[in-house]
Every structure is written in C-alpha cells, then in structure tokens.
Amino acid sequence: MNFTKEISGDITIITLALVEASLNESEEFKNFIYDNCGNEAPKMVIDMSNVLYMDSSFIGALVAGLKKVLSKNGEIVLANISNDVMALFELTRLDKVFKIYHNTDEAINSLK
C-alpha cells in the first residue's frame, strides 16, 4: 500500500510509504484523505518521513485534502518532512498553509 492509516483516539495518522510522491499516486491519495474525512471535524496527521521527492501534482492533492478537511472544521498537520521537501514548501509558502511538526508525537499533541 502507498498509504496506511492508524487511529489514535479521534486522530487519524496517515503514513506515506512513498519515496517519490507524484502524479501516479496523487488522485489515489486525495481520495484516501477524502474517504477518511468522516462526518465532522476530522483530525489528521500525515507522516512524510519516507518522502524524499514530491511533485506539484501530489502537492495539489495534499492541498485539496487540506481544503476538504478545513471545510469540515477539521485539521491536517504534517510531520517528519525531509529537508528537500521542506525547502520546496518554504520556497512556495506552503509552510504558511500547512502546520508542520518535527515528528508525529508533536503533531499528535498539537491536535489534542
């Protein structure tokens, strides 16, 4: 599986098993987030520790997922972003759009 999830209380932790997150997986990922949105105020942590490269298609899917979750008064936070992906997020101000944490523990605590 490209993405796995585990539930901790009311928080869904999604782990990306991909090293390169790109167009091929973007639609499936967007649907994965949509499917896990539940009814109201979903809380999600996305663990990106495996991802070393992310293309604009996948970023688009991530942003679409965030918009969906925000529309339900929920939150998506990101954890364990690699230096290269973080550099891209900073360059394109996506670090201002997403809440980003060093590790999943910090990310989970932020949602409690």
Binding site: M1, L23, N24, Y53, S56, A64, T92, R93
Partner: protein, 374 residues
C-alpha cells in the same frame, strides 16, 4: 525505460519460467499467483501489459479481466490470456469481454516475445495517434497556453523557453498582455498536475487572469498585488476549480521607466542577475496558492533595472529533474548553473540548451522566461 509486465498464474513453475523468459527479453516482471494478489500489486504499480492464466482457483482469468474492464483505473491496460484451450472458449465468453488477445501455453518463446512486442507497439501507436489528434484540435481552436508571438519593447527583450513533458501539453501557462505603449503584463502560471488534465485547466486560469487584469486596468488600477488579489478572489469563488490549484508570477513591465513590479502566488522566486557584480539575487513573493484562501496575502516589489540586467521567471519543472533514477528538486543547483552561464555571457538559447539537456532528465513541463534590460 523497461516495460513492465504483470504475470498472473496459479502454477508457480509456469510463473517462474515465464518470468525468466520475459526478463531475458528485457522486460520488468511482477508476478502474482492469484487474481487477488494481482489486484494488490496493481494498487501500487501499473504495468504496461498483463498476462494472465485462464483457469485459476477462486477467481479465473475471465473474472479478472471483467474486474479490470469495470475499473476506470485499469480498463485500458493491455491484457493477454495464457491458455491451454483453443479459441472456442473465447468465442463463447471472451469476445464479450473484449478479450481478443491470447497465447497458447507452450508457445515458442520467440513467438511469445514477438506477440508481446506487437501489442506494446500497437498501444504506443494508438496513444501517439490520439495525442496528435488532440493537438490538431487544440491548434484549430487556437487553444494556446504559451504565446506564439513575442512583443517588442524599447527597453527590454523577452525570451521564452517552454518545454513540454514527454511531448504532452502541461499545466504551465504564459501570457503577455499589452496595455499600451508603456505597460505590459507578463504572466507565468503553473497548474498543479501534469499533462492533459493540467493543460485543460490552464485555460480557465488564463481566462480569469486576462479578465481580472483588463478589468483592474479599466478601473485605473495597475497594482500587481491588488490585481493578484482580484484574480485570487474569483478563483476562490469558482466551484469548478474547487480542488485545482495554480501558482502564478505576475510582472508589470514599465517600458518607459525601465522598471518592473512583481507579485507572486506560491511561485518560485524571481531571479535577477546583476551584470555589475555577476550575481543572482532572489526576489521572493509572499502570496499563497491561487484560490486557496479568500485573501491571498499578496505583496508587490518594484525592481529597478539598469541595462544588461537580466531577470528570470521559472516554473517548478525548471528545478525538478531525475538523475541516476532519483528525482530531485534543487533551485540552488539551477541558480549556480545559470550564474555561471550568465557570467560567461551565454545567450538565452545557449543557456537553455546547456541546462535542459538529455543528461538531466526532465520530469515535468518547464518554462523559463528571461527579461533582459537593453
């Protein structure tokens, strides 16, 4: 790049033998001992061809083919039956499933490889034909997201490099909107996504951008930050673009004063090469992705230029590349390459042919615009 084949057979010996034959012929092989295993593999890895046994426990080859035909994601994958039966069995069931390709078990390996190559070649030809037809229609409708004509300025020269990805149109879009002899807007956007999907939406974004610029100018507003916010507002309100996002660099060229004003939405920095000190400076904008928030936090920066200064706008395809099978995003590498070439006074054509070459495999469509103060 090696073609991938998924082989499905419940007999392990048959599976391994076929794998060996196919790998020796230069294919990459994934193998599955049941339809359920095959479906698991397909979730993560789409092959160029599936070869499946007909008779298997639980789900057989016909049922497998039927599942694939009912799936938007898998129904176009070429499919080849491997069977000990004659064609009568397909006449009974297979033809209704569009299962027209089969190979008898025990076929000599040369014939097997020839058959596979034929199928893959036909698929490639059909794809190329479809793309060419779409391109012809787009040309006839005058649908262009990159201008075919350049504009002349007194104090500037603009050069545009745009390269498609795998010969497919993509999400990058460029426009030059001349207001009068003094002012011209330069637009570079990138719809997130690749190939035809992104290309299609680029026209919607371009229409909004052109309209917003014209309407703001009619109202006497030449502030690029305010124009960006106007563009952002309409895109935010459009449900059609609900989960489609685009970056945007917007530059107002003042040909009288010889200066530029720049604003951006989640775009890459504007680069300015000062001929005096042979260095590139980055101008980072503050604006967020078009349409995501109702207010996009756009700022604008006035950039003074003296003759021989060169400015560059770029899409993300410029800094994304694949080397030794690994994909990377590296703006610093691009800047240092560009700085070196500019200090050697290379022309724009020399710069682009030097940076975008076969050694640095492109992974997206890419656009680079040079604005040179003359």
């Amino acid at each position: 790049m090696k073609k991938k084949i998924l082989v499905v057979d419940d007999e392990l010996i048959q599976l391994v033998l076929l794998q060996k034959v196919l790998e020796n012929a230069g294919f990459m092989v994934n193998k599955a001992q049941s339809v359920l295993d095959a479906m698991d593999i397909l979730k993560d890895d789409l092959p160029d061809l599936i070869i499946s046994d007909l008779e298997m426990d639980q789900l057989d080859g016909f049922e497998f083919k039927e599942i694939l035909l009912n799936s938007d994601k898998y129904h176009n994958i070429p499919f080849l039956f491997l069977t000990a039966h004659n064609k009568e069995v397909f006449i009974e069931k297979g033809l209704s499933l569009k299962a027209i390709d089969y190979i008898p078990k025990g076929i000599p390996k040369e014939q097997l490889i020839a058959k596979i190559n034929n199928i893959l070649e036909t698929v490639k030809d059909q794809k190329e034909q479809s793309v060419n037809e779409l391109k012809m229609v787009a040309d006839r409708l005058n649908l262009k997201n990159v201008p075919s004509k350049n504009l002349k300025f007194k104090n500037f020269q603009i050069d545009i490099f745009h390269q498609t990805y795998q010969n497919h149109p993509g999400g990058d879009f460029i426009d030059l909107i001349k207001i009068d002899e003094r002012y011209t807007f330069l637009v570079l956007g990138d719809v997130m996504g690749k190939k035809w999907g992104a290309w299609f939406f680029s026209f919607t974004f371009l229409s909004y951008i052109r309209s917003a610029i014209r309407l703001c100018v009619f109202d006497g507003n030449l502030s690029v930050a305010k124009i960006m916010q106007r563009i952002n507002q309409v895109i935010h309100a459009d449900d059609f673009l609900d989960d489609i996002y685009s970056t945007l660099s917007l530059v107002l060229i003042d040909d009288e004063k010889g200066e530029l004003t720049y604003s951006g939405a989640s775009d890459l920095p504007l680069l300015k090469y000062k001929n005096e000190d042979k260095k590139i400076n980055q101008y980072k904008s503050k604006g967020l992705l078009l349409g995501f928030f109702e207010v996009g936090n756009f700022n604008e920066q006035v950039i003074q230029c003296i003759p021989k200064d060169q400015l560059f706008l770029l899409s993300d395809g410029v800094i994304d590349y694949e080397a030794n099978g690994v994909k990377k995003t590296d703006i610093n590498l691009f800047i240092s390459q560009l700085e070196n070439l500019l200090s050697e006074e290379k022309t724009f054509d020399e710069i682009t042919s030097n940076i975008f070459n076969k050694e640095k495999y492109q992974v997206d469509d890419c656009s680079l615009i040079q604005i040179k103060r003359i």
